[in-house]
Symmetry: none
Subunit: 418 residues, 2 copies
């Protein structure tokens, strides 16, 4: 039916990329180590006064040293113009196509508070909200009630019993909570009840497919009971639910890359994502230098370390240029400790940009460097947004390709084909 140039073709997809199965089949063992150091929200935008980004302004002799010895570029986590959430950003860094492998919002909420999800659980993100007497939404976040207030309300909601399943209601932060149903025959394939706009009524729970009917009915019961319990509360008097989802069955990091991996992250969300991929989670403390100590202490036991630094993102989200600079400089001061461990390959990058100018995640590609004995260094001498643009990885390197590249650099990938 298709005549090229002549017909319209709406069904075929254009496919280009190496998928993860392809890499899986090329993996081979080696006695070599990789460190992936993620500065959350690393990328920035130039401020007006001196046209410098946070990273460009920062004094980073050690990162610059690695950049000058390594191969640099800017990485694209999802695609041009796409602002990655932390989930997709990290999956991409770990070599998982973030459009193919999506982790639901409910699951991420559970990961974020260290709630131990079981394979059949259905998790959802809840908002405490305000509705009027006719059930129209007045405020989707109930004026961002305090986490303390949230805890009181969660306690009330724990009185709800549903037939045949266990119900967990947990405080996340401010107006946000986690709902988990545990039992047999559940599915996350439901619509959100959150209408995403004020002036609308919450949607009724509805299944997208027959296997989710049971869950939809249970959620309906939950919401009706929640309304009875909350209706006389002030200000929050109702709940809105989003992102019903189950723990995804991701191919493990070990399965994909044949590598014994460990995660060092102070925040639960990032430990949670690493755990989804089967990484070993190392206990660590919040300070940056402590995370590097954890790395040193466990150096002999793993082949791959994911080291997550949250501070740059938090400073960016607060719009604090200088705090972001300071957090980058603090990481820079720890770099000699990393170099002293003599890893076979170091990658330093971020999971997305968080320019302090925007105070939020952004779509801009993120500076990245990869250093190994065999990386074929480029001419970049400085680790920064504009300097990395001209590096050997190019200005739009797909983040999902970093893992295969790192594996190659540490002799962990077979030749493809004869």
């Amino acid at each position: 039916m298709l005549k090229i140039n002549e017909c319209i073709n709406f069904n075929e997809r254009s496919e280009f990329k190496m998928d993860i199965d392809f890499i899986q089949r090329l993996k081979k063992p080696a006695d070599t180590k990789i460190v992936l150091l993620v500065l959350d929200g690393l990328g920035g935008l130039p401020r007006e006064s001196d046209n410098l980004t946070e990273l460009e302004f920062a004094d980073t002799p050690n990162l610059d040293y690695l950049a000058s010895r390594g191969i640099c570029g800017l990485i694209q986590l999802v695609g041009a113009g796409i602002t990655p959430g932390s989930g997709p950003g990290h999956l991409s860094l770990f070599g998982y196509d973030p459009i193919k492998y999506q982790v639901g919002r409910g699951v991420l909420a559970a990961l974020g508070i260290n709630f131990e999800l079981r394979p059949n659980d259905v998790a959802a993100r809840g908002n405490f909200c305000i509705i009027d007497e006719n059930k129209y939404v007045l405020d989707r976040r109930a004026g961002r009630i305090s986490s303390e207030k949230n805890k009181e309300l969660c306690k009330l909601l724990r009185d709800i019993n549903l037939p045949g399943v266990d119900v967990f209601v947990e405080t996340v932060k401010e107006h946000r909570f986690l709902l988990v149903l545990r039992g047999e025959g559940l599915s996350g394939n439901l619509i959100d009840t959150d209408p995403q706009e004020i002036g609308k009524k919450p949607y009724h729970p509805k299944a997208f497919s027959p296997e989710a009917e049971k869950t939809a009915n249970l959620i309906k019961l939950f919401i009706d009971r929640a309304y009875e319990i909350l209706r006389d509360q002030n200000p929050a008097n109702m709940v809105l639910m989003r992102g019903f989802s189950q723990k995804p069955d991701l191919p493990s990091f070990k399965e994909n890359f044949g590598i014994k991996s460990a995660a060092i992250a102070a925040y639960p969300m990032y430990r949670g994502i690493a755990k989804l991929l089967g990484m070993h989670i190392l206990e660590t403390e919040k300070k940056i230098e402590n995370e590097f100590t954890t790395l040193e202490d466990n150096w002999n036991d793993f082949d791959f370390f994911y080291l997550h630094i949250k501070e740059c993102d938090s400073a960016g989200e607060d719009g604090d240029f200088h705090r972001k600079v300071a957090s980058i400089e603090e990481v820079d001061r720890q770099i000699p400790r990393l170099i002293n461990l003599n890893p076979d390959c170091i990658i330093i990058t971020g999971d997305h940009s968080t320019p302090s100018l925007l105070k939020y995640h952004s779509w801009h590609p993120v500076p990245a460097l990869l250093m190994s004995k065999y990386c074929r260094s480029d001419n970049v001498k400085r680790f920064g947004e504009r300097s990395c643009m001209t590096g050997g990885l190019g200005p739009r390197f797909p983040a999902v390709d970093l893992m295969p590249l790192a594996l190659a650099n540490v002799n962990r990938l077979e030749k493809f084909g004869a």
Copy 2:
């Protein structure tokens, strides 16, 4: 069934490229404006005397100013080595995968002469040609007969009546004409009758699928009658038909990007492509400065303006280096008027290269600049082929990603994932 950000999707194929549905689901409203200025055939090749392309030779202080403030690169419309026609080139600029969404040659011919196609019409491109007494093709273009001669022949062919359908025969240019059948139950799924070589006989109309049988029979009748009418004409004595096709059902620009769009183009083909996507077509006059006046006059009424300048391509096709330079300089002189409107995002590029050295469309990637307050400017200071190679968009930026990038820059895309 897929809820973006919420569900896990393991069944889909690994698709690296973001498809248009993905962008659709991330769109959000904002009170911001984008201008896409297309200099048709912008890209060139260096001439021997001074090794400069038309754009490199041209004096373009205003384009250079935008380049120095923006992010630059070379865009690839379809793929490496692929020379885009105007249809695919524009679809790609508009964010539509030009391989997935193909517009038939017959439909493009109709758009090019402003013929108003209805949804069930079947359109085809015809050539007046010369065949010998045994029906072997001697000249597929009948020596490129004049458009005047073409009009005479079309008038003769309009005597043809076919059962149950209306028949339209319209002059395009020289040996080229448009045939449209209008009626029920038609399909464009036929082989071309044009054998594409001399010394062969025209192919018999044949359906690729059962629903096109009726159309094939009607075309057979048309061709038999056309031969009876033309056989004693000189030089053209037969017709060859190509690109049977129907108006494609493309997702609209509004549907994809949530943006109120207008097209300013002096030539029917470009208005036609914009119309296919549901853009509002603004009346304009042929001179470059008049097109900018149209932009100014309608500034308040739309969020997105596509402004098409034909002159660079025409000069390139004539092999006229200096006329192409002059047309670029003429556009440059109008740029301050564009800047004065204070758009939130400006994109300036072309739909393909037309080097005056080659006198035809070429496969070379095309200089592009994107300017917005948040574009993260690169180090490019000059708008030209070689200067853009080192820009932040890179030397092979997929044109299809320009729209998502522009939307991000004007705050019209949601974050992907939590």
